[in-house]
Amino acid sequence: MDESLYLRIKQYKNGLLPQAERIAFEQQMQTDPVFAGEVATWAAIYQGIQEKGDAELNVELMGLGKQLLQTQTATPEMSAKVNPEMVARRFSMPRWVYAAAAMLLLLLLAWPIYQRYIGPENTYASAEVLFTEHFSAPAAPTVRDAGRIPWKEAYDQKRYPEAIAALEQLLADTSYLRRSEAQLYLGIAHLSAAQPQQAINDFQQISPNNGEWEDAQWFMALAYLKLNDTVKAKGLLKDIADEASHPWRSKAEEILKKLK
């Protein structure tokens, strides 16, 4: 066989034939049919060997690929052994991370809008907030033709420690007749002075038979809200709400709707 011809064909196929030789080769192919026939036959042989080689390489690579896929599926950490740099570079987040991040972002964006447009009646509020919203100390009762009464004066002027001291002094006097009233305002004064537990103790001294009982119930419920004792607050508020003629009924219902 013409080994040099075969080598030239290989060089031509692989783009390694110098340009001048390449041109001469192609010209001879076009002008010399015998040469062209011989070249075509050897070129077919070379091409056939290449095709067979490609097929064998493909089989070999298929085995390697399946092995790599199996290794990576069975133990994801093994992929680092295959190619740590590339795996690190190509690390991709699991889809659930993207989904969670998207949800979080949506919540962050939507929350202020929700807060703005949602009606307050639909929002669960904290006990402290409900206390602040609903508590206001009523004015001290007035008695016609009564002279200057120290506790009332201090109470109305929001000097609660002074009012508390005066009321406690009054209640210490067992002969004092308006005890329930004093007990109620002592409790309210304690509540105003941010002393809810003392206020509850005061309200508990009032008998259900007294005219101050309904106010005592209401303010005691608020005192429990202040203490964040929603269970007891709810119990009292339900009692109030269940009484059709209770003066604080609608307020109690309003709070019950907002309580968790």
């Binding site: 066989m1 080994e3 075969y6 064909i9 290989k10 031509y12 196929k13 692989n14 783009g15 390694l16 192609e26 192919m29 062209a36 070249v39 075509a40 036959t41 050897w42 070129a43 077919a44 042989i45 070379y46 091409q47 056939g48 060997i49 290449q50 095709e51 067979k52 080689g53 490609d54 064998e56 390489l57 493909n58 690579l61 298929m62 390697l64 690929g65 399946k66 790599l68 896929l69 990576q72 295959v82 190619n83 740099e85 590339m86 795996v87 190509r90 991709s92």
Partner: protein, 187 residues
Amino acid sequence: MTHTDAQLIGTIQQGGPPQEQAIRHLYEQCFYMVRDGRGKYRQLDDEDLLTAYNSAIIAVRKQILNNAFRGESALATYLQKIFSNRCIDILRTKSSNRTVPMEHIPDAPDESQDLLSRWVREEQLEMVREKLKHLGGVCEKILHLSEYLDYTAQQIAEAIGFSNANSVNSKKYSCLQKLRELMTAAS
């Protein structure tokens, strides 16, 4: 370790066992494309993805060997482009009546599609495929190592247990001649 493009290209062009190693390195180094392909081409199964990837690797090998790959882009980018095209080809084959909404970027021009390829007749090529099967073990092995994997005569001698490189060379040409004669006898 990661092999640079220059290392891989140089070793592939070197031929022989180092070329085989370099192909394996390239294959493993860019295998993330197959894993990524699972998410990107959901209609393709692992077998399809491997077929596309193997085909891309073989194409890149060929382009490196015939100097069609000029290093204008990174080897991985080049491989990715060919791999994507192969995946799209398979998708189109699988869903011939559906439109695949993906851009098909043509591979770099294959300069091996030269005049010579056009002169080779399909029936000649078919005959070579057929006769190669009947060539016999040693000839088949020598021609594969020499003509496909670019083993040197010395490397072939070591691989198949020949005493020296000269005997490999003479055997190789006698195998080629035998193939030629088989073709002539058949035509």
